[in-house]
Amino acid sequence: MTPLWPVAVITFKEGIRNRAVYGISLFALMMMAVNLLISDMIMQEVGKVSVDIALSSISFLGLLLVLFVGINLLAKDLDKRTIYMVLARPISRGEYIIGKFLGMVLLIVVTMSILCMFAVASIFLVKMRYSGYFPRFSWPMIFLSISFTTLSLILLSALSFLFASFASTSFISLILTIAAYIIGHSMTDVKALVEASQSVGIQVAPFTVKLVQIAYYIFPNLSIFDIKTQAAHDLAIPMSYIFWAVSYGLVYTCIVITIASLIFRKREFP
């Protein structure tokens, strides 16, 4: 048996039993109730608002999972030296990182599936009460949006592993991961803004343009996984877009985890 699996299993168990996961689930339950309440208060576009609230909620809760449970899973290993019990086995540092990451992926997928059930239940209840407000609605788009969010969280988690592979404290990993999340979601807009300004005659320093363009290609473009608006309005997404987005997410994740394990190989645990 490859040593990755036992590491993944204990990582998943440690993560899923964390009280923060219960907190996230409780929060999801509250969001479901809020969705029902808000739907009662607004008089138009109930369907779109309800889908938007449900999808935004699980996207936010998924982010909390990565930031506060995921980062801790690795950071605690380093801070409390629980990593000794793993590395004392015939497991290399690279395998440790990959195994740990697989456990985290499992945790994200399982938690997102639970959150997905809450989201689906809330949308379903609103749809039952106000079926007239759901003229353009499709469940596959809802599931596609949640799958894309899951993929973006996996990518973000890979980045947090990369930061933890060289950062000295979990706080630095947390700050860097939040920064990567913000940059990842706004880079497309910033690039468009910088480039569009030039086309209408507004001067932007060439250095700034170059810097933004370089950052655009280095940082992950998380905005491509955000299809909540399309899901709320049931706008079609071409198959080619899905294919490229999934490929981009998987390839980027693999590259980041490979770099993290290469850096980790040099690390010592005194």
């Binding site: 699996w5 590491v7 964390n18 019990m85 590395l87 015939p90 010592e268």
Partner: protein
């Protein structure tokens, strides 16, 4: 068999460039089937040497091998059981799951793990607490769970860093019995301690390390043959090294 050849290790102290020598040109051999005690005051370099043996840190110079294999080869650790000083484990795992991990990661079958888990948890007196999360364990219980984890894959070489630390007299006796049992099975045991009586009781040979340098390596019986005590020898070595360490 454990072979340490001329290892040295320096650590940076703080932000500045000041470096501290944790271990200096240490050469040592522990024979198969031997119980070897690694004695030294706090900060002498015992844990650093052990961590180099487990490949948790890399030496600046020198090499280490266990059973003829370089410790940098992960396969070496398939036959090594390690108990860290003040072990910490995952809060939400149970002792049973901890041993499952240790067994699986060492390539054991599920049936073998189950049998060995029953055996070991009985031995370390954790049978009743086997399904409890480790976060609810007392310090002594964590130490005992760590011992069970170190031995789950029936290693040929056991390396314990301060195995008696945090244990009550019953726990200490249990660890002593375990060490003697391993010796009876022909296993090699290398353990560090600064408790002289433990070394006297269990070890065939002892190495005294002070200030990162190995000062004495000898059989315990020959060291004590002239009527001197291990405490006298230890304090003399600390004195020679210019340290005022307390035992």
């Amino acid at each position: 068999m454990i072979r340490i050849e001329g290892i040295s290790k320096e650590f940076k102290e703080g932000i500045g460039s000041k470096r501290v020598k944790a271990v200096e040109d240490l050469t040592l051999e522990v024979h198969k089937g031997e119980v070897f005690g690694f004695l030294g005051p706090n900060g002498a370099g015992k844990s650093t040497t052990i961590k180099i043996l487990i490949n948790l840190i890399y030496p600046d110079n020198g090499t280490c091998s266990i059973n003829g294999k370089d410790v940098r080869d992960r396969e070496t650790r398939r036959h090594v059981g390690y108990l860290p000083e003040n072990p910490f484990f995952y809060d939400y795992l149970t002792a049973e799951e901890l041993l499952w991990f240790g067994g699986k990661a060492s390539g054991m079958s599920s049936a073998a793990i189950k049998e060995r888990t029953d055996q070991l948890l009985t031995k370390v007196n954790l049978q009743a607490a086997r399904k409890r999360h480790l976060r609810t364990y007392s310090k002594g219980m964590v130490q005992r769970a760590g011992l069970a984890l170190a031995l789950v894959h029936d290693p040929e070489v056991a390396i314990f860093d301060e195995p008696m630390s945090g244990l009550d007299p019953i726990g200490r006796k249990m660890v002593g019995d375990l060490i003697m049992e391993l010796k009876g099975q022909g296993k090699t045991v290398f353990f560090s301690s600064h408790i002289l009586s433990d070394i006297e009781r269990f070890c065939d040979r002892v190495g005294i390390i002070v200030g990162g340098k190995l000062r004495v390596v000898d059989r315990v019986d020959s060291l004590l043959s002239g009527g001197t005590t291990l405490e006298d020898i230890f304090l003399e070595e600390v004195e020679k090294a210019g340290g005022g360490a307390t035992v």
